[in-house]
């Protein structure tokens, strides 16, 4: 499938979301970033995920609401990271991986035949477990990287603008504004992770997926990322996978608990609901046992 020529025709309901038409009201920093816009909604219908013959996730139906932080929790191997990666078509990059069911981004099936997976990955950004900036590139180049790849002919002034806006949006600008040309690898772990978030939001995605974004960070850097997540949800739909239940309780609005009946069986969605309710009054015993730490 052509990756660039078709992009203009694959609207996915995101026609108004290109970088050139996006209001630049985040320049004022995090305060302005808190201004709400309606992000997009993800809906999963009977999603099955496979690695060759092995079924990793079975029959997941759920709605991920805009401008909310949805946490996916569950024990290791329950398929939550696999599910996360299916939301921006990264799952299919694994040889033998298959997807069943539907994943709808504002009613448009992201797995439809005419949809470019590269465009999906721009609309649905991903922040990974370990900070993964391009180590030899500067701070500036790291943020601008996605922008350059996605849009040809972007001018220096506009690029400066987007880099500053993204770094401010990631709560990093004040710490790096005087060393934008330094290598990204010179930054601390927490700063590197915020740099990755800046890189992700530079291309103005609709959805941000975060796969255990704080698991490699110290507690202070973790809290900084959690503050950032709270800020970002005003503009994006956020899905976060975390093993840290206190983080799910602190940072998310909605929590989905996944479990598997036994090793080798597929992961299933057991319960999903407002985080406050799931952690004080879970509906299912399996959820209760997991969030209370009764079973590992």
């Amino acid at each position: 499938m052509p990756k660039t020529a078709d992009k203009a025709t694959v609207d996915l309901g995101a026609g108004a979301s290109s970088a050139t038409t996006r209001p630049t009201n985040t320049r004022g920093g995090s305060g302005a970033a808190r201004k709400e816009r309606r992000a997009k909604r993800l809906e999963l219908r009977h999603v099955d995920l496979f690695y060759s013959d092995f079924q990793a996730v079975q029959d997941v139906t759920m709605s991920i609401e805009p401008n909310r932080v949805t946490a996916l929790i569950g024990s290791s191997g329950c398929g939550k990271t696999t599910l996360l990666r299916s939301l921006n078509r990264m799952h299919e990059l694994t040889p033998g991986a298959r997807v069943g069911g539907e994943v709808l981004l504002d009613d448009h099936d992201i797995y439809a035949r005419n949809v470019d997976p590269v465009e999906i990955r721009r609309l649905v950004g991903m922040v990974f477990q370990a900070p993964n900036p391009f180590p030899t590139m500067s701070v500036y180049e790291n943020v601008a990287a996605g922008l350059v790849l996605n849009r040809r002919g972007i001018g220096r002034a506009e690029k400066d603008d987007v880099v500053e806006r993204s770094l401010r949006g990631a709560h990093l600008w004040d710490e790096v504004k005087d060393r934008l040309d330094r290598k990204a690898s010179d930054l601390s772990g927490g700063q590197q992770q915020r740099l990755c978030i800046a890189r992700a939001i530079a291309v103005e995605p609709e959805i941000l997926l975060m796969d255990e974004p704080c698991s490699a960070l110290d507690p202070i850097a973790t809290l900084a990322i959690e503050d950032l997540i709270e800020d970002l949800k005003g503009r994006y739909t956020i899905v976060i996978v975390t093993h840290n239940m206190q983080q799910a309780a602190r940072a998310s609005d909605v929590t989905a608990f996944f479990n598997l009946e036994a090793t080798g069986r597929p992961g299933r969605l057991i319960e999903m609901g407002p985080t406050q309710e799931l952690f004080t009054r879970p509906g299912q015993k399996e959820t209760e046992d997991y969030v209370s730490g009764r079973f590992g």
Partner: protein, 233 residues
């Protein structure tokens, strides 16, 4: 999956045991208090006042354990509701201990040779017996997570309320004698304290329902008699 957090589970069980056995301390204090009322026994009344330190000590001890558990174990779901309920229960226990002290403190006011009216004393002693029975029932309901047994405390409390009203009628009609009227007023303070203990037992019953259902609902809403009120999850 393997059982984990076994030490934490032990801590929670010990915490509950420690808090609920505070109800046994209150029952013992209440029984002494009623005996002191019946026999106008000032020494026993003083013992009740002195021993209230044990109930206060239990309150502080459990309160500290709860803070430690919250800070170190981050309990959630049923565990969190249990801990919240135990805080309420301990507060009720501390208040009931104070009500026993309040009663004990007025016993000397009745004088050495009080103009005792049997019909009022009998009713007050019945209130005391009923209150002690309610405390035992509240403890059992909590231990067994039995919402119906907890809800039955409302019916039991109605008996105390009725006896309290009857005491009031006796006091109103007690006659012209100054000493007898003073005695009757003092006894109404005793009745009032017992009536509050009954209410505290019902409060504990409401916490049983909260632990089990996750919803806090007053069994009886004083401002809207005859209907429970939902006060959040």
């Amino acid at each position: 999956m393997p059982d984990v957090r076994l030490h934490y589970r032990d801590e929670l069980e010990n915490l509950e045991r420690s808090a609920l056995s505070g109800l046994d301390l209150v029952v013992a204090s209440l029984e002494r208090t009623m005996e002191a009322v019946e026999h106008q026994d000032m020494e026993l009344a003083e013992l009740v006042i002195a021993d209230d330190d044990r109930i206060d000590g239990r309150y502080l001890e459990v309160h500290q354990q709860i803070l430690t558990l919250l800070a170190t174990q981050a309990p959630v779901a049923t565990d969190l509701r249990l801990i919240s309920a135990l805080l309420h229960v301990m507060h009720s226990i501390e208040r009931m201990g104070d009500q026993c002290v309040n009663i004990a403190k007025v016993i000397p006011l009745t004088g050495h040779d009080a103009p005792v009216r049997g019909e009022m004393v009998d009713r007050i002693l019945m209130m005391g017996t009923q209150a002690a029975s309610m405390l035992s029932q509240a403890k059992r309901a909590f231990e067994e997570r039995d919402v119906e047994m907890a809800r039955d405390l409302v019916r039991q409390d109605d008996l105390i309320d009725d006896l309290n009203k009857e005491c009031f009628q006796v006091a109103v009609q007690v006659g012209e004698d100054q000493d007898t009227r003073e005695w009757a007023m003092t006894m109404m303070l005793v009745a009032r304290a017992l009536e509050r203990i009954g209410d505290n037992a019902v409060d504990i019953g409401e916490q049983v329902a909260f632990v089990v259902t996750g919803l806090f609902r007053e069994f009886e809403d004083a401002s809207h008699p005859g209907q429970g009120s939902l006060s959040g999850g």
